[in-house]
Assembly symmetry: C2
Homo-oligomer: 198 residues x 2
DNA sequence: ATAGTTACCGACCGAGTCGTCGGTTTAAGT
DNA sequence: ACTTAAACCGACGACTCGGTCGGTAACTAT
């Protein structure tokens, strides 16, 4: 049991830094000083290994970093702002960012592995559903303008988040985070209660 | 000459659909019915091949689809809206989207190949510079509110674009494009002249 | 004691990878 | 007709990859 978890944790770490196709099973094993036999005792294949990681580690971490923080009955705009701020700050500090992982893996597997894409899309849609739900609750609590299209806002927020992570990977992450958050806050003023939107 | 260009065009096509690390030189050669000899006569290595493609094809296409359309003295907001609309529409129709390519490659090479990352970042920063310039010109032409932070808007727009492309790759691209563009237009109302922003 | 199960080892296989190299064709120059 | 060089061929080497398999040590049940 502990072995499986060690393998998964290290696997996620390497897949995160080098990508799935660019990380070999031997790479993972070498870092753990373990053998091929141990690996194939616990997992059917490299793909199975990855899917286990997605379900056990990625899904839970996306939940705890991107979904849980925006639950509750407070103003969803404030919650989402705080959530993005936190997660981007940890990204600046080179900590593992599970939302970014999701976005990277979506790019890497898109059109290349249907099975894995399905699992990733499941996580994506859970995030989406929860965002929409949080926004709708915000509407009924009079935090959001009642003309707001919650699905559209959710799509827009997910886009913006994925995009800024790609961009931050390129150069000057700190400056880009700052600029991005500034504009996001501007955007949020639009959908706040008391503003009229279409 | 013609041979090199055929190779590069096919190379871009395959790297786009399968990724760089997941496409072998033999894959490209097989589709062209050409030999290893021909390949290594024209290019030093697979990496050299890719860099040539980036400089010759990707850079030019990014220019013609994302930069040229927003040049000129008209309202940059209108230009950018139209530009994004067009390029996302072609993405919906499964045509090759060079902005998306840029974003995919940024993910794929991030932390894995410094040399290639440098070339990609060059293209990225050309796009950024031109966006900022177009926005600044819009400010002096009174299309944009004069309090707008052009760098921040550019960062935000690039983020949003990259993100929505990642998201559209997942599922229901058409619906997501529609929702995204709707919110983008809302955002643009904020930075138009006559609105006050911070 | 013995038999069975769990967890693990690591040599090995075949397929595929990038890149090399000796050789061939084609076309132009003299 | 002869030389030369550009363009191209494809077998091959060196290596990496995911995955297999026969073996083994430790523990448990009987």
């Amino acid at each position: 049991m502990a072995t499986m978890q060690r393998m998964q944790a290290k696997g996620l770490e390497l897949f995160y830094s080098k990508g799935y196709y660019n990380t070999s099973v031997d790479d993972v094993l070498k870092e753990l000083s373990m053998s091929k036999g141990a690996f194939y005792y616990h997992f059917d294949s490299k793909e199975d290994f990855f899917i286990q990681i997605v379900q056990n580690l990625l899904a839970r971490k996306v939940y705890s970093t991107l979904i849980e923080p925006i639950e509750g009955h407070e103003n969803p705009i404030w919650n989402i702002t705080k959530c993005f701020e936190d997660v981007l700050e940890s990204a600046v500090n080179n900590e593992m960012d599970f939302g970014c992982l999701l976005s990277n893996f979506l790019s890497e597997f898109n059109g290349r592995n249907e099975t894995i894409m399905k699992h990733l899309n499941d996580i994506l849609s859970i995030w989406e559903v929860n965002l929409v739900y949080a926004l709708q609750k915000g509407k009924s609590n009079d935090h959001l303008d009642r003309h707001v299209d919650c699905e559209a806002v959710a799509t827009y927020l997910m886009s913006a988040y994925f995009g800024v992570r790609t961009l931050m990977a390129g150069a000057s992450p700190s400056a880009r985070k700052y600029r991005f958050m500034g504009q996001l806050k501007q955007y949020f003023r639009l959908i706040e209660a008391k503003n009229v939107t279409v």
